[in-house]
Symmetry: C2
Amino acid sequence: PGNIKSMVINFTRSITKIGKDDPRRVFHSLKVAFALTLVSLFYYSRPLYDGFGVAGMWAVLTVVVVFEFSVGATLSKGLNRGCATLLAGALGVGGQHLATAFGEREKPIVLGILVFILAAGATFFRFFPKIKARYDYGVVIFILTFCLVTVSGYRVEQLFELAHQRLSTILIGATACMVISIFICPVWAGEDLHKLVASNIEKLANYLEGFEVEYFHCSEGKEKCEKSVLEGYKSILNSKASEESLANFARWEPGHGRFRLRHPWKQYLKIGVLTRECAYKIETLNNYLNPEIQTSLEFKCKVQEPCTKMISESNKALNEISSSVKTMTHPSAAKSHIENSKTAVEDLKFVLATVSLEDAELLTIIPVATVA
Amino acid sequence: PGNIKSMVINFTRSITKIGKDDPRRVFHSLKVAFALTLVSLFYYSRPLYDGFGVAGMWAVLTVVVVFEFSVGATLSKGLNRGCATLLAGALGVGGQHLATAFGEREKPIVLGILVFILAAGATFFRFFPKIKARYDYGVVIFILTFCLVTVSGYRVEQLFELAHQRLSTILIGATACMVISIFICPVWAGEDLHKLVASNIEKLANYLEGFEVEYFHCSEGKEKCEKSVLEGYKSILNSKASEESLANFARWEPGHGRFRLRHPWKQYLKIGVLTRECAYKIETLNNYLNPEIQTSLEFKCKVQEPCTKMISESNKALNEISSSVKTMTHPSAAKSHIENSKTAVEDLKFVLATVSLEDAELLTIIPVATVA
């Protein structure tokens, strides 16, 4: 019983943690439940189970599959599903028409060939990187609908009625998802991307600050700076996938807040790439904090003055850039900090050319991107 | 017309490129098409469209949604789908029983509350990282099936018949997928992971070799080494996501080839992490190839001898490790190379302590992992 009790406590703890990390998750769960209850009751209240009723199932199915965390993802799936169903439905009716023209005995063979060709082609199509990123779900639904329509064995008149029912229920489901996800506590992928990029640059700045304290002042007996600051940059190293998927979803979103339609999401990806490059350099820099690698005090003293200057200026520049990304203004003050730190780098080069080449790089790369 | 022609040419070119990059993609497309045709014709040939017929649709749906590129992914989806359907079906029947007990007027309200609670809970559950990685699809199907069953409005006897039909068709679809994906040209996620990890280490070794040529010998007028060798390591930087998903799928796969059941997939992930750390260091090293950063020839000459030794020994060690991963043997020869390169590093330290600290690190990290 003690074992079970501790399991329950652990479980509750992880639930509260997940909820607290991002309270929008709780809202999202409630939103999905709301949409689903709405559609389910709509389905339940229809008295005609043998006619329209079975098609009503598609509304429930659509809500479950389409409703995603961010508005962009929901819109992308909803639109993919709608368009693919329409297109495949039309093609399917055509395919059946064609097969029927061949006569009753050949019909199954023709149908089989059609399904085979279409399925093979569309599945191969999914390997195209661009299709995979944006229309993968649409292609899956396309294959599915085409098969269901061609093989259904209904006559064409029946087919049209069926298609009408199914399309309208899918439309009801998809619309419910989209409306609820846009108007009730929306989670914008674009906003998330924006915040992620800004906070990543800020993490770099924090690291540099922490590095300075750790590397130059630890011998003076000061308190060590917090571990979390020094490890914050690690999450940047692997941020590529999440940034790309957010940018992908952001493209589907309508204009909102300070983000216009056709907001330059690709620029965010570029900044992301540069931020990651800086993080790789910081990863290398981080090795010098390893207690096993002892640098002589003499060396540290020689290097300290220009290094500190350079780091603090880099730090200011990064903070400036981060806040200018946040507020969407031009990072004018950052330029002077970059110039200052470049001169500091030159000073340092007189002392020693090697250790800090990374930072010089780091600073020449960033402004190019952010100003652009 | 010229425009269209060039588009067509481009399109064909990208098709052949995708097919040549990995011929298994073509086989995969054919396999999916084969499975789908099989199931579709099975569905078509049933004469009872009003009874069993509609349920046959679920077999088609299952094939389209479940059939993935690797065996592991297909098995994971198929098993998730099967188990979730069973569990949710049972719960759904229970839920409807409960709701019916409340009386005709209260039934919709009770059903609504049940659906709401379950959907909210299950959706929140999807945010747990472990669930997300392995059972995400199962949870989605669980919500879907539960809603469809509770809200269907059928009487319990009808429900059992419906459940039986639906389960058996889903089973047919899922079994077709699994059998075809395992027995016809299987694509094992485990094997892919294995190869990916080995080739990543090899890329590091190649890079070091290329680096040596480029950095020390380019002044002698030799040909430049190929660009692709020097950029191979870049793909490692962002390999985390793909490695993790492959390891995830590999866990679902039955034993095959030299991979037993319960193969230590987690070790692969650890090697992957270390490989990435090395790649970060190489990324920094790569900056020294930048033509804008001119190092004095004098400095190069001083450093050349121990550096060359160190690099070639590191290179041998990495190659050794890579081939030992490939052949699944113990990398005994690698150890001596590592020792050699460590002494070379010591030699180098006499000359200069800074530039090459990275490599020393690089070498102390790797063997710990691979031997473990």
